[in-house]
Symmetry: D2
Subunit: 348 residues, 4 copies
Amino acid sequence: MLKVAILGAGRIAQIHSKSAFLNSQCELKLIADPWKEGVDKLANELHCEACYDYYEAIDRDDVDAIVIATATDLHIDLMLHAVKRKKPVLCEKPIDLDFQRSITAVKEIQSHDGKVMLAFNRRFDEDTIAIKEAILNNEIGEIRQVIITSRDPGMQPVEYLKTSGGIFKDMTIHDFDTARYILGEEPIEIFATASRLVDEELASINDYDTCSITLKTQSGKQCIINNCREAVYGYDQRIEVLGSQGLLKTQNHRPTTLKKYTLDFTGAQKPLLNFFLQRYISSYRKEFDVFVSCLVEGNEFPTNLFDGLQALYLAVCAIASTESNKAIAVNPEGPKESLTDDIGLFLL
Amino acid sequence: MLKVAILGAGRIAQIHSKSAFLNSQCELKLIADPWKEGVDKLANELHCEACYDYYEAIDRDDVDAIVIATATDLHIDLMLHAVKRKKPVLCEKPIDLDFQRSITAVKEIQSHDGKVMLAFNRRFDEDTIAIKEAILNNEIGEIRQVIITSRDPGMQPVEYLKTSGGIFKDMTIHDFDTARYILGEEPIEIFATASRLVDEELASINDYDTCSITLKTQSGKQCIINNCREAVYGYDQRIEVLGSQGLLKTQNHRPTTLKKYTLDFTGAQKPLLNFFLQRYISSYRKEFDVFVSCLVEGNEFPTNLFDGLQALYLAVCAIASTESNKAIAVNPEGPKESLTDDIGLFLL
Amino acid sequence: MLKVAILGAGRIAQIHSKSAFLNSQCELKLIADPWKEGVDKLANELHCEACYDYYEAIDRDDVDAIVIATATDLHIDLMLHAVKRKKPVLCEKPIDLDFQRSITAVKEIQSHDGKVMLAFNRRFDEDTIAIKEAILNNEIGEIRQVIITSRDPGMQPVEYLKTSGGIFKDMTIHDFDTARYILGEEPIEIFATASRLVDEELASINDYDTCSITLKTQSGKQCIINNCREAVYGYDQRIEVLGSQGLLKTQNHRPTTLKKYTLDFTGAQKPLLNFFLQRYISSYRKEFDVFVSCLVEGNEFPTNLFDGLQALYLAVCAIASTESNKAIAVNPEGPKESLTDDIGLFLL
Amino acid sequence: MLKVAILGAGRIAQIHSKSAFLNSQCELKLIADPWKEGVDKLANELHCEACYDYYEAIDRDDVDAIVIATATDLHIDLMLHAVKRKKPVLCEKPIDLDFQRSITAVKEIQSHDGKVMLAFNRRFDEDTIAIKEAILNNEIGEIRQVIITSRDPGMQPVEYLKTSGGIFKDMTIHDFDTARYILGEEPIEIFATASRLVDEELASINDYDTCSITLKTQSGKQCIINNCREAVYGYDQRIEVLGSQGLLKTQNHRPTTLKKYTLDFTGAQKPLLNFFLQRYISSYRKEFDVFVSCLVEGNEFPTNLFDGLQALYLAVCAIASTESNKAIAVNPEGPKESLTDDIGLFLL
């Protein structure tokens, strides 16, 4: 049976560990983290070994597959280490916050024929899957416009966001991947505009809290993404797809279906699911299960390093568009090696 | 052109008068009411004559059709007067609050070959029509269960209800007609239970404010009606029909489609349309237009005196069921002439 | 740690076994069933012992609590066996299909001070909980009318239903418990009417497929239950509560939130969750967890033998009402010992 | 009483004529159109005079106010004629398809102190009004993002669209006005992208069928407009407003509230209202009534020539943005006199 090591003991690592524990095609061998207290508690709960060194965990002979759910700046190093030992990896997004480093790393991983699945969990959400299936079944004909609404329930402190990479790399990056997935065609043009409407303090770290992005593909399909760091009514995650034969819409998720009708309000419901851990918990589960079943059954991973790179690339272009007030051309085959040229070349 | 006289100058009469004014197949000739001030104002607004005597209005040679929207206790007399003068009538429901008088009157009107359309306006509501059409188009197969929810936004004072005839004759009577219309088959059994949950004072007039009624037809189709004199969230009017191939549901109407999502409530809407004049205004309009077009084109009226009698009959049986705690058998061919026997016979 | 034995290896037993496996307050000690193949497979998957004898499993010293998920006709024997050994029980509903046997058994279990939680899983459904909480928080004032719609997606063959106890004891019994739970007050009167609209063959076993039931409490609160063995659009489970200050409504559950808008239909969604195992899986989980936490923390069980008896009592009265076409009085303190007298006494 | 002349006898003119007929504060004096057959029929139906010359109609002494619902290229001439005779005007949008001519005309009309209300009927839609009221009541705090979805049910032939002025001036212009109205602040930046996804033939007239537009105001509020000339599921008209304290959403309108649940689809509704005459009929009525009441009560018009100019200005900027792939700066005080400079100046 496939033996899995989870690197990390934080929130996402806990989800993956529980998935591994419940998945009948694999065995949760160990959880690794230098944070002894956290890893001990988690390993104890899930009846597996604790390990205090990421690299040691990767090296162990009784570990077949690696899940990287550590801090972002370790992703590349740990992926490379695993790949060199021929161990397949499920790595949390993003590859790295630095675009140039990411390009270089992907090249190196590819030179080792590394098997890496990138953890874009939203692709495994039942609603996103249902949309994709309806499109593939030709239920709405050719896609014309996609609208992705993605808003966080509340904003973290500016201090915390300082290391996030900015709204485009931290938040919109999920929507860039969803856009590529649903469009089924690479964007070749991007325009972004951003504001500070939640907290003016974001100016101090050159970041934004509210943005609107327009993508266009070669064939003219359009995608509009709108993000806000704060939506007081809860975690707002909706997708609309206009096709030549119809429209698809997903709705927000709620903890119950109860509706209340009173003198003042009719049809009021309780607040939405609070945040991504509640809203997307089943997609995290399914993502892990797909990772394991791909390995066990020898299938291709549904998300790979190119997906990781392309989403980051779109984020970098969005930043350039915001700064220049111009649409940016995007190379559908992915970024060139040298970043500066790339962006330079592609300003329309 | 068909010349119409409206008898009455109250709320319903005002609606019919405006319908007549706008209908291009007829001419609003006059509005009649002994209440001078009211009828003068209304006639002036709608550029027609005012008349202060109902019988005189019916008698006039330049009046072809009569709309009776007066107090209920005048319905029978005015209908008979019109029918004897061979003038077709659109009469507001009910025929009369007294069941025995109603039976006798219907017999007499029929002996004069009277043309009377009874004003069950809800049959002309766009939602009810859409339900009936879907059933007739066999979109849900054979009917199994019908659920009619019908609740008033607020209760009139007990003083006012004293002359209403009680909840079954005053309120449920509409739902009895809707039930017959949707079922497409006469009920042969009725059970009713009633409570005083809004105002205990109703005991003083032997009336109720909350009731549940079960009807069954010969073929076993069931219909559940639930009424309450007070629903603080507004005028609640919904119909559900379970068929062998599907379910049909109508929803309440609202003044706008706006939904609001805030910290406390998500999806809250403004209150429902306040009451029947708002909710059913278009059905009143359509009802009048159907009356006129039936006359102009020589078609049968869609609602007639039998419908009026049958709804009243069900109300009388509901009262008997409430009092006896037993299901009451209903004669699908309508009440026999003598009331006492009738009910006596039909207790199951 | 609380050591749990699951009796049974069928569908419901599998759910309880998995709940026990995942519950961190208890240990899944063993699963017992004479059906070797089934129990071996299940026990193997969940890393616990298999046992081939129910009574042996109850007797084992290393078993602290018993879950009875066997065939219905063993419920009473196994409960009594466990209770005599002072072991607490979570027992699937119903107590027994025979009302008189149930009354006698409950008396005997009570004489042993037996701790039994009866598995009315729907009380642990998130929507039902949300309704109950809103009522307890006085969000809609005093209850006036409750409407419970409960329809199966499809009907089992008549052959299978022969041993079900009939629609009232097999299907409506869940709704009787829900009604009592939501009303917060015992019914004192019941009227039921039933038809065969799905399959006439049910006449051969004196059963029905479609029924409507009206309950009334001492204070006049009304509850309408409507059941049908077949709803082609899926498992229809909805509750409405009208209160003096507002209305509560729950809606059906769906596998995704996707809506599709095309030329012919707008807003169409995929079919509902198929049946009770899909719709109520989380309530089964929660039910088990509540059972364990009550034992660990020393709390009263939220559902007990009286609940089981009262739901069965209402089913028996519903049958009597259907047969007599009369409302049946229900003793709010539960059935008397002798059934015949009971029903005889209570015909209104 | 205010005497009104309607110029035009086409679809919109018919609506305004009927509004004038029903409005009790004004008298429908005449309808004017050189198209004898059309104007005779309409005037006959509404009991008013027919006139075959627009200018003669304006000049008549017994006409107090003018409604211009003629072909677009006559708007400016007729407005100027009326304004010179000191007669107030309700003029259909747009002022003119030629931006430079519009600027010049507005200046001239202003020099005559002309009283002109521009017919942006959607501002009088009950849903738009409800959104605006909720914003003004501070129900969702400060506006952050507005999303306007506006799609036609089907596309006219390219031949017809040749004279339409293009998608931005013909279709988006309504949404530009709605955006300005809801934002309550002028846009200072616009980016537009457009495709031909419905009909490639549009390339022959340099027009598009699908477009996405991003607007930003001085304070950073964002507005996204998405248009498509074809939505097979019907006329799609929705608005969303994200504010600091909540979200507002309007929904599409339907002819009935009926929902159907079958084996394949659940919750399917009939198609949306077909097109703008069905969807916005009540807003046309209300618009006219507001025009009359402003005149009778001496209030300012809610929409004026500046609104007409600004919407056209945004359309011109959208065209420039589409062609240049750059965001265009918009002067919040309106276009400068010379168009070329204007656009030249404002490219960001």
